[in-house]
Amino acid sequence: MAFIECRDLHFSYGEETGEVLHGVNLDIERGEFVALLGHNGCGKSTMAKLFNGMLVPTSGTVRVDGIDTAVEDTQLDVRRRVGLVQQNPDNQLVAGIVEEDVAFGPENLGVEPGEIRRRVDAALKAVNMYEYREHAPHKLSGGQKQRIAIAGVIAMETQCIVLDEPTAMLDPRGRQEVMDTITYLNREKGITIVLITHYMDEAVKAGRVVVMDDGQILTDGDPRTVFAQVELLKRHHLDVPQATELIYRLNAAGCTIKGMPLDEQECVAAIASYCGKG
């Protein structure tokens, strides 16, 4: 059984806005790093809130670790398994001191004080913010605030973190910090990551890419397979990583470069070998 199981999800925010999701089926396995792509209004943020029971599907089911998110009584069990990090780093920190903010989740769960201390320290070290534990959040950079938000989630010992465009409001350095943290947590701590983004260069770092369009899943697979479908993505007005785009255009202009590079290094290598061949 998959860790998160979505079956035939339909969702609408109300009569007048119409349906946002039209029958989504998606399984996310334990330990996966999934990037969820799509342009604005395609239903990806809605998906984020469905994963931890903040929203409940109009029809269909979401099961987290076997627990139905629609059941009121077990909602805390769902949320302690799946944490949510939102886009705006300023709006999700509750307390005026970093370590107290990280402690907020475990405090809500009624964990005993000594254990909270241990978890908070461990979480802050995992996101590399331990030396800032006594700072006020408003004096930190966007990337640092986002890492505190991530620490707040892992202090609850969640098994999965859903990040809803966590880098959209950050500068390049902040984006890099957040991406490094996410990759580290996935690789070293085995935490399942669902990264919602519209930066293709972030998506290629994931193990699996799910592309959504108009409330449905367009394509799903490892980054190389997904981005190889340049035509399909273009038809739906979606981008591909810059490196892929370059090779695609070169080939369209008559070159015959092999392979489907996802980042700069691969791109350089592909072009070099093409030129070397003459």
Partner: protein
Amino acid sequence: MISDVTMGQFFPGKSVMHRMDPRIKLCLTVYFIVLIFCAKNFVTMAATILVCLAGIALSKVPAKLYIKSLKPILFIVAFTAILNLFYGTGDPLFQLGFVTITKNGILNSIMIAVRIIVLILISSVLTFTTSPTQLTDAIERLLKPLALLHVPVHEFAMMMTIALRFVPTLLEETEKIMAAQKARGADMESGGLVQRIRALIPVLIPLFVSAFRRAFDLATAMESRCYHGGEGRTKMKVLKLGRVDWTAIALCVVYLAAFIVLNILIPPAIVR
């Protein structure tokens, strides 16, 4: 700009005062404010002032900051003192038209001025050495018995924590919006009072809209992190009374006894 108000600001440190339990600090602040207003003669008054000065010295916060914290209330002190000057009873020292100045009036106005100044200084010791979070925490715990009477103590404390957390964020945003409106040609500095208040409307409306958006996001974030009210909630930092606190309590009890005895034995400064 708005952010350099000294009164009510926290200065992190490791002094005895910083280490004292916030609940004790809060209680002692009230205790000394009551004492300074109960001191009837010069001896008890001077002694209480000395104790407060000792508290200031122990806080290791620069004296400059305490003096700065007095600035905003100097007008009130002067105003109350002058008003008290004219309402003395007893033999007039001198008379100028309808104004009568008596010895009691002078003494009274000095005492009231000193009392207000000490009141501000004592409160400053509390706010300078206690972080807002500690302070709300202390208030929550001290008011906990009221929860039995169905007073929503935890909710109030939570509200205060969030309010304090968002003060700097919203201040920053206000400045940004003001800059944005100025860049569009808004004039905020000239004109009369009414005109200036009117000029604030284009600042306040976007500020409110964004505050609501923040509130929605924050509610989602809190619920996502399993917040479900005060029930079954624990705290990472448990307040525990330490050596500093027991020493402070003991000293204050001894002081209270001495204060009461001296206040009765020595004749009051103002004889009616």
